[in-house]
C-alpha cells in the first residue's frame, strides 16, 4: 500500500487570524487515517475538520494535520430510537439534511451548520438551548478514537470514562475521534415557532430572559456600540420546534428582515479591504439592525435555517474583515453586573463589535476544558484592530476571571496560559487524564502549546 501523501497547505480558523503553513494529509477512509498516523514520522499531529473554530484550536504550525472532512460515512442508525453512529467528518448540516425528513433533529446546533461532528465534540459546542439540552457532548453515547498509542479504542460513560470525559470539550488533544454515536432528537417539523422582542437595555434583556424558561431556544443580538441608558439594547429571540400543523403556516417575520440586512453587509466576497468595517459603519449597521425590527413583540413561524444559522447563507462572510481577519471574544460570566462592566469597557474603547450575541446558559458545567457554565455569555466579533484590541481583550480577561468566568477556547487565539488556568479551575484534572492517554504529547495544537496543555 502506498504511503500517505503530505502536502503543504495554508490553514486558518474562521477568523483568518492566525494563518499557518502545515503538512496536511486528507484520508478518504478510516484505514487511511490510521495509515496517516503511522506515516507522521514522529511529528506531532492534530485533526482538523472544516476550520470553523475561530482561532488556533485546529492549527498546528510545527507538526502535521489530518484533514478529516472526507471521513463522513454513516455507520449505524436505529429508526426507532434515533440513535446514530457516524464518522467524525460528517457536518451538522448533513445530519439535518438526511434525518429531518424522517423526523429527527440534531439536539444541539451551533450558529453554523458547517461544522464537523468531531469539531462539535472537541469544542463541546452549545446552542440556543443550553438550559434545556446542555451541550453537544451530553448527547454523545460513545466514541471510537485513534489514540497516541496507535490503538483504536471505544469510550463511553461506562468504558474508559476518563477518556470520554476529557475528549468532550478536549479541543482534539486526546486523540482523533474516528466516529461517534449520538442520540438525535425527535421533532414534528424543522420549523421554529418563534417570538422576537425588541428590548431597550440590559435590564430588559434579563427580565425577558427570566420569563422565557419555557422556550426551548433563546438568543439575543445586542448593540454594543450604545452606552448609557441604551447600553445593551437589542432583539430577543425565543422559539421552539413547531408542530406539523404550525409548520404549514411558515411566514416571513422581522427576523428574516434583519438577517437579510446582515447578509447584505456581510457578503464579503466583493471586498478584500480593511476599510469596510470601522466604527462608523458598525454603528450604522447596529442602528439599522435595531430599527428594522418593529418595537415590541412579534410572532412568526420560520424555517430552522434563518433561526439557527442566520449567516450560513453568506458564503465566506469572514472575508468581510479583509486581510487582517477578525477575532471573536466569547466569554461567560456568572454575574450579571460583570456583563455591564464588560460592555462599558468595549463602548469606551471605541472599538466596536459588529455582531454581538448574548444569552443565558443553564447551570450544567461539564468541567475540564469545556466552556459553558451557569451565567451569561456574550460573543463579540472585532475586526483585527491589532495591538489596541489585544490590550483591551487582556483587560476583559481580567474582568471575566475576577468573577469566575471564562473565555471560549474554540474562539480564542490570544489568551495567556496564566489567565487560562484561572478561568478553567479543573484543567489539572483534565491534564492528568490527557497525560495518561498521551504521555509523549503526540496530539498538539498551537492553542495547546500557548496554554501550556501539551509540550511546547
Amino acid at each position: 500500500m502506498s504511503t500517505t501523501t503530505w502536502a503543504s497547505k495554508s490553514l486558518a480558523g474562521w477568523g483568518r487570524y492566525p494563518i499557518v503553513d502545515t503538512l496536511c494529509a486528507r484520508p478518504e477512509s478510516q484505514s487511511q487515517t490510521l495509515k496517516a498516523f503511522h506515516d507522521r514520522q514522529g511529528d506531532a499531529l492534530l485533526a482538523h475538520g472544516f476550520g470553523r473554530s475561530y482561532g488556533d484550536a485546529a492549527l498546528l504550525s510545527q507538526g502535521r494535520v489530518v484533514l478529516t472532512r472526507r471521513l463522513k460515512k454513516m455507520l449505524e442508525f436505529d429508526e426507532a430510537s434515533g440513535l446514530l453512529r457516524v464518522e467524525a467528518g460528517v457536518t451538522i448540516g448533513e445530519l439535518i439534511e438526511v434525518f429531518l425528513p424522517r423526523g429527527w433533529f440534531v439536539p444541539v446546533v451551533p450558529g453554523t451548520q458547517f461544522v464537523s461532528m468531531g469539531g462539535a465534540i472537541g469544542c463541546n459546542i452549545h446552542g440556543k438551548n443550553h438550559g434545556h439540552a446542555g451541550c453537544f457532548g451530553d448527547h454523545v453515547r460513545s466514541m471510537e478514537m485513534l489514540l497516541a498509542s496507535g490503538e483504536v479504542v471505544r469510550c463511553s460513560r461506562e468504558e474508559h470514562e476518563d477518556l470520554f470525559w476529557a475528549t468532550i470539550g478536549g479541543m482534539g488533544l486526546t486523540g482523533i475521534i474516528l466516529n461517534a454515536e449520538i442520540q438525535l432528537q425527535a421533532v414534528e417539523s424543522g420549523a421554529i415557532e418563534m417570538e422576537s422582542i425588541r428590548f431597550n437595555n440590559l435590564d430588559e434583556f434579563f427580565q425577558i430572559s427570566a420569563e422565557s424558561s419555557d422556550y426551548f431556544h433563546t438568543v439575543s443580538w445586542i448593540d454594543c456600540v450604545k452606552s448609557g441608558a441604551q447600553m445593551g439594547r437589542g432583539i430577543f429571540m425565543r422559539g421552539r420546534h413547531a408542530s406539523a400543523a404550525q409548520a404549514r403556516t411558515l411566514s416571513e417575520g422581522p427576523l428574516e428582515r434583519v438577517v437579510e440586512l446582515a447578509q447584505r453587509v456581510l457578503d464579503g466576497r466583493a471586498f478584500e479591504s480593511n476599510v469596510l468595517l470601522n466604527r462608523a459603519t458598525i454603528r450604522l449597521f447596529n442602528e439599522a439592525y435595531y430599527h428594522k425590527h418593529p418595537a415590541g413583540e412579534h410572532h412568526s413561524v420560520v424555517g430552522y435555517e434563518p433561526f439557527f444559522f442566520p449567516l450560513d447563507a453568506v458564503e465566506n462572510w469572514n472575508y468581510v474583515y479583509g486581510k487582517r481577519g477578525f477575532l471573536q471574544y466569547q466569554m461567560v460570566v456568572p454575574e450579571r453586573e460583570a456583563v455591564r462592566d464588560i460592555l462599558k469597557v468595549i463602548s469606551e474603547s471605541k472599538m466596536a463589535s459588529f455582531l454581538a450575541v448574548i444569552k443565558e446558559f443553564g447551570d450544567q458545567d461539564h468541567g475540564g476544558l469545556s466552556f459553558p457554565c451557569g451565567g451569561t455569555t456574550l460573543a463579540l466579533d472585532f475586526p483585527n484592530f491589532g495591538e489596541p484590541l489585544l490590550t483591551m481583550m487582556d483587560r476583559l480577561d481580567e474582568l471575566v476571571a475576577e468573577v469566575g468566568g471564562r473565555v471560549y477556547l474554540g474562539k480564542d487565539s490570544r489568551l495567556s496560559a496564566e489567565m487560562f488556568r484561572r478561568m478553567y479551575p479543573t484543567w489539572e484534572r483534565w491534564r492528568e487524564v490527557r497525560d495518561r492517554w498521551d504521555p509523549q504529547g503526540v496530539f498538539q495544537s498551537d492553542l495547546s502549546r500557548r496554554l501550556g496543555l501539551t509540550p511546547a
Binding site: 501523501t5 478518504e28 477512509s29 484505514s31 460515512k73 455507520l75 449505524e76 442508525f77
Partner: protein, 245 residues
C-alpha cells in the same frame, strides 16, 4: 434498478454511488478493500434507504472472476442497469521507466483490467438488450506526454476500446459513455498547486449521472477541458515534444 460501481472506494466512485442511490438505485460496490466497500454500502443504506452491498473485486488479480462477480451482483441485487468503471492507477512515471513490472501494473489496471470487466458487463447487458456502461478515462489519454505516458497511453487505449464497444453495442440498445476527467479534488490532485480550477467529486458525479441519463457518448468534465485538449491536440508533434508537459 441497479448500479454497479467498480473501484468503489475512490472519492469520485463514492460520489457517483451517492447520486445513484439518491435516485433510488440499488448499489453494488466492488473494490479491493471489501471492508471499506461494506462501510460505504452501509452509508448509502442509511442515507438513502436503498439496498447496497460491498463485493470483493480486483481489476487484475484474477480476470476469470470478473464474469462471476457480475453474476453474483445480478443474483443479489438484480440486473445491472448501469456499470461504472471507476478504478485507475496513476503509478509513478519515473519508477515505471526503470522497472517494467511497475509500468505493466499501470497498463494492466487502467487497460487490461478495465477491458476484462467491461466485457463481462457487456455480455450480460447485450443478452438483455439494455444497460449503460460508463468508463472513466482521462484527458491524459489524449496525447502522449513525457511526464505520464504509461498512464496516458493506457487511458488512451481505454478510450479507443470504449469507442469500439459503443459501436458494437449500439444496435443492442446498450449505451456506452466515455468520461474524460480533468482535475477533480481527489487524492491524485491533493498535492497539486494548480491555477486550473479543481472540481469537487460531488459535482463531477452529478454531471456523470446527468450525462448518462441523456445518453451522452463522450464528455469532458469539467467541460472546459474539451477546449484545452482541443488546443493541446492541435500542437504539431515537432513543437509538442519540446514543450515540457
Amino acid at each position: 434498478m441497479t448500479v454497479l460501481i467498480l473501484g468503489a472506494t475512490s472519492p469520485i466512485a463514492q460520489a457517483v454511488a451517492d447520486v445513484y442511490a439518491a435516485a433510488g438505485f440499488s448499489v453494488a460496490l466492488a473494490a479491493r478493500d471489501v471492508e471499506e466497500a461494506g462501510r460505504a454500502a452501509r452509508d448509502l443504506q442509511i442515507r438513502h434507504g436503498v439496498e447496497a452491498r460491498g463485493f470483493a473485486f480486483d481489476a487484475c488479480e484474477d480476470f476469470e472472476r470478473h464474469a462471476a462477480l457480475v453474476s453474483e451482483v445480478e443474483a443479489t441485487l438484480g440486473p445491472v442497469d448501469v456499470a461504472l468503471v471507476a478504478f485507475g492507477f496513476m503509478g509513478d512515471q519515473q519508477a515505471s521507466e526503470e522497472d517494467f513490472e511497475k509500468a505493466r501494473r499501470v497498463i494492466e489496471v487502467n487497460y487490461t483490467g478495465a477491458v476484462s470487466v467491461c466485457e463481462a458487463v457487456a455480455r450480460a447487458m447485450e443478452s438483455r438488450g439494455a444497460g449503460s456502461i460508463i468508463g472513466l478515462s482521462s484527458v491524459a489519454g489524449e496525447r502522449g506526454r513525457a511526464s505520464n505516458y504509461f498512464y496516458g497511453s493506457a487511458k488512451g487505449a481505454l478510450t479507443l476500446y470504449l469507442q469500439g464497444l459503443r459501436s458494437r453495442l449500439a444496435s443492442k440498445n446498450v449505451h456506452v459513455m466515455t468520461v474524460k476527467l480533468g482535475f477533480v479534488d481527489t487524492p491524485m490532485t491533493f498535492e497539486l498547486e494548480t491555477g486550473i480550477p479543481v472540481a469537487s467529486p460531488q459535482k463531477a458525479a452529478q454531471a456523470i449521472f446527468n450525462a448518462q441519463g441523456r445518453g451522452v457518448e463522450t464528455f469532458y468534465y469539467p467541460r472546459f477541458w474539451g477546449g484545452i485538449m482541443g488546443v493541446i491536440k492541435s500542437i504539431p508533434e515537432k513543437v509538442f515534444k519540446r514543450l515540457s508537459l
